[in-house]
């Protein structure tokens, strides 16, 4: 392995960027391909597929063997709101392999007693986001119902190209939210990508059932996420 490639790969990984280390198994030469980098020729489809699936594998192209080692940042789930749904969601996210955190400035809600096994930040989202900004491998679910708390992280999530942005609230509540987000300068495509009402339509009624529907929707979005769409949204931001 080229020492320069190793350094570059580690840099990308530490910065939470998706990257593939491409090794020609015939001659041992390697290169780092970042997500969104243009790739010419027959390797392009294999690279795009590998970024989407996250699965490392050997591909045979024109008689040569390449190993594609995919390094995706671990997906994060940031929940705005330390509510009943979030209590049910925390263990589910953990089981599904998601790194979850909860942000809620209302200290009556955000207590360690209610959330023993999850990273909890009893602070305003703008403060949390300064330390831990959203990225394309972050899912954001806003569940407080309070525009003072939910709106800013929703705006930031859309601008950061998060692979999932969901917001709790009825259609009527969401219609008002859409108007507010428009005045913040977000375009129709960005606003249209919000999952609202939040969660897959499984007829969820209890907080735990709603948590299941949210987790399912996050997983679906992660598996189907389109690199191109995310890059386009990022550019127009």
């Amino acid at each position: 392995m080229d020492p320069y490639c190793l350094k570059k790969l580690n840099q990308e990984r530490l910065a939470r960027h998706a990257a593939i280390l491409l090794t020609d198994l015939g001659d041992g030469r390697d290169r780092v391909v970042r997500e969104g980098d243009p790739v010419a020729g027959p390797l392009r489809d294999a690279i795009n597929q590998a970024f989407l699936s996250g699965t490392s594998k050997v591909v045979e192209i024109e008689g040569r063997s390449f190993f594609l080692n995919v390094h995706l940042p671990p997906p994060r789930l940031v929940v705005i709101g330390a509510v009943h749904i979030s209590q049910a969601l925390a263990p589910m996210a953990k089981l599904a392999g998601y790194d979850m955190e909860i942000i809620d400035p209302r200290t009556a809600f955000a207590t360690p007693e209610r959330f023993p096994d999850v990273r909890l930040f009893a602070e305003w989202p703008q403060d949390s986001l300064q330390a831990r900004p959203f990225d394309r491998y972050t899912a954001v679910a806003a569940v407080t119902h309070d525009p003072k708390i939910d709106d800013l992280p929703l705006e930031r999530a859309l601008r950061a190209g998060c692979f999932y942005v969901g917001a709790l609230g009825s259609r009527k509540t969401h219609a008002k939210r859409v108007e507010r987000l428009k005045t913040l300068g977000l375009n129709d495509e960005q606003i249209g990508s919000i999952h609202a009402p939040i969660g897959l339509d499984i007829g969820a009624a209890s907080p735990a059932e709603i948590a299941v529907s949210i987790m399912g929707e996050v997983i679906k979005a992660f598996r189907a996420r389109s690199v191109q769409t995310a890059l386009r949204l990022e550019k127009t931001a």
């Binding site: 190793l6 580690n10 996250g54 490392s56 390094h71 392999g97």
Partner: protein
């Protein structure tokens, strides 16, 4: 499966390899490139080895690491990458095998 090689983990093999390189140690990187059956570590997993035989990471559940380390020390000396294959324990083919019944291919290369 979601990959969980969070780079902030202290024992991340690729960060360890970079650190060793910075200290002037000779390093080999072993990578699982293909698996069949119930292999314990997925393709992409790393074991990194230095010229003294120190290592970090894993390519199996501990079944074949010893053999990979020995090969890696040869690769460090000679510079040519090698492809190793390990299968179900079978003395006619291999001295070491995977007790789980899987089969893996491990690519071993020198860093630099």
């Amino acid at each position: 499966m979601i990959s969980h090689n969070a780079p902030e983990q202290i024992l991340d093999p690729l960060l360890v390899a970079e650190g060793w390189m910075a200290e002037g140690r000779d390093v080999a990187i072993a990578t699982v490139v293909e698996t069949w059956g119930s292999a314990p570590r997925p393709a992409g997993s790393h074991l990194v080895i230095d010229e003294q035989g120190n290592f970090e990471g894993s390519v199996s559940g501990g079944c074949v690491e010893g053999s990979v380390i020995a090969e890696a020390m040869e690769v460090i000396k000679q510079g040519q990458p090698r492809m190793l294959e390990f299968g179900v324990a079978d003395e006619t083919a291999w001295q070491v095998g995977l007790s789980c019944g899987g089969r893996i291919k491990v690519y071993v290369e020198r860093l630099g």
